[in-house]
Symmetry: none
Subunit: 207 residues, 4 copies
DNA sequence: CATGAATGAGCGTTCATTCAT
DNA sequence: AATGAATGAACGCTCATTCAT
């Protein structure tokens, strides 16, 4: 029974994907713990148990690593929620469940949420603005819009501007997560239910 | 060949308030254009047309300058909105007007909004977290809560959790501003009206 | 009886000597407390209750102030000792008394001793060396040499190289003061007596 | 016109010890020439023909570099002297030889002596005082005391307070070195012999 | 003459990035 | 390919010195 862990000698050769994941995981931890400015590539590489110089083999530069980390983290979290949803249920129920799942993340994925927030608010775009956040939220918006439209078609939701509602919905979730982050004494599920009440109220009100 | 900075004229002696404002204005511009990290005190001083060392006569350090800039900017913007509101009107009308005023800021105070966002998400608090953002949002929340309660007392608003609504309301505004920021083709007033419809729908729906 | 302290208004005009003494006294305190590097002209001027800009009216620059402070302090301390000595007594007694007086300074003029030491070991001479220390010790050496010669002429001291003895004598005192500085539990008088025994032993031994 | 520093060749990779020695050697030169304050890490690195940032790979900060330089220099010089002594000879002869060796250093290790003096008088200890100097002199004192006691036991030295004698002995050497430093026209050996006469006179005199 | 706001060279230090091994 | 020593630009900050008032 020689199932010992790999000898961990120097110069272990890992696949590119594995290396990238290692580095992005370390990035999440460092950024969550020390902030965007405080996360240095030296510390990230050390934490990922990877030679410093290798960072530049797998990422173009620091911004690239940060952007990739943000994208991967966002995608992972979105997939987690979507996978856990039963899309066969009525739309209002889906929304209620989605909000609860989102709220639960503050407990299960606090580091990812904090890191994501920090990266998104610091990543400079080509023109100095924040490009990434846009594109990714755009994808979320579209998913939500189609969900809303389905509810409207099914008659479970009233008439409203789906795009503005999607932006508002996403903004409400972000605000919820930020609020729960600084109010750890609150029960995420309770807040999620309260928010569902509000949002569904808005969605059902006939314009 | 000689890319020297243009020589400044003779020393100008300004009052403390004027200097601080000068420096904070330059800070807003730099942070808006280059982000929190990218805004260095050297560039800020240069932009303010002032010797680098002067920064430390009026601010303890970079964080102090950033915090002061955030506070002053936030206060200015809040005052602008509050002053423009007619608090004697019915609450729903006040909310509609407030949303329009907030939306209009993306045109009149884009730099301030962007800088504020970046600073608030980067300012390290005493324990390494973000303290300021909390306190300031807390102040906003309380103001909004009392407005909501007034509406509930007057019968123009239904029954809902005022705190969650305040957080959601503020989050919706932030999301709106971010969305308008990257969609300059949109008319802020239209978005504001659409958002008002949604939020007032949520507020009027009887739970 | 209106003997109140001077009103201390701004722009008090003092004589040059008074100003210089104020500044040098403050220099002694700052250097003693914060070291040579830590003593900034701003702090010195503040402590002397003098406008910062005035420093350059009374001293050419920082080094000039330091050098002047060292000279004045050294001269004052030397005069204090010499004045307290009864030069009419036999030479060995004079030496014994001088050593006791020197040792006592660690209690009465600690700041001056510390500041003097720090300045003398930091003052850069024209060529980067330490010039001042030389010239001033030279004066001391001459005084001591003539005292030693008198003792030799009177027969109370043996034969020895007066210059080397003077250097050794001064070096012994400096070592004593440094040792007493870091051994505050010792009684200065006891050390002085012990040192007198040693030095007089050396002086009386017939070569 | 183009006063650029001469371009260094390709990067050389050195062992840790070699790099540290390289940097400490440059430190000795800079401190000797420009004093403690004047010796900046920029100049030290340049003199060592090394990138500025390398200093922080091998030393924690400026004080660490200075302290390490002082310790290494002191140890080297002490070893040089001790190795050259024949400890089997009678104590008075050892002392005579030690003084000659010490005096000779002003010719062979002038920079080291000057740098050591400057560093020891400026190094801030944990409490802001000078700690290192104490500990190192303490070590010297103990060595000298035991030598003196051996001489007393052997009958070649008289009775005296060994500690005060040690402090005086060390102080005499420091004074000698400082004196020889500013009197290059003197023959170190002659001074050393003169000082030996004086100190041995003191040590042999029966109290 | 006195004041202290203004200046700017220079410091110690960090860290993304490069490259000899 | 992998390593981490080496590099150097840039940063936040200090402080001796100048000068408009």
């Amino acid at each position: 029974m020689d199932a010992q862990p790999p000898p961990r000698g120097p110069r272990q050769r890992l696949g590119e994907d594995q290396r990238r994941k290692q580095l992005m995981a370390a990035t999440v931890l460092e950024v969550a713990e020390r902030g965007y400015e405080g996360a240095t590539l030296t510390k990230i590489a050390t934490r990922a148990d990877v030679a410093k110089g290798l960072v530049w083999r797998y990422f173009a530069d620091k911004d690239d690593l940060m952007e990739a980390t943000a994208k991967a983290t966002l995608e992972t979290m979105r997939a987690t929620i979507v996978d856990a949803l039963d899309l066969g249920r009525p739309v209002p129920e889906i929304i209620r469940a989605a909000l609860r799942l989102a709220a639960a993340q503050i407990r299960t994925h606090r580091n990812e949420l904090v890191a994501l927030d920090r990266i998104l608010h610091n990543l400079p775009g080509p023109d100095g603005g924040e490009r990434v956040i846009t594109d990714f939220y755009e994808e979320s918006y579209r998913g939500q819009e189609s969900l809303f439209r389905r509810g409207q078609a099914e008659g479970s939701l009233g008439d409203f501007d789906a795009r503005i509602m999607a932006v508002t919905y996403q903004g409400s979730i972000d605000a919820m997560l930020a609020y729960l982050e600084i109010h750890p004494e609150l029960e995420p599920q309770d807040y999620a239910d309260g928010l569902a009440e509000i949002l569904l109220g808005a969605m059902k009100a006939t314009a």
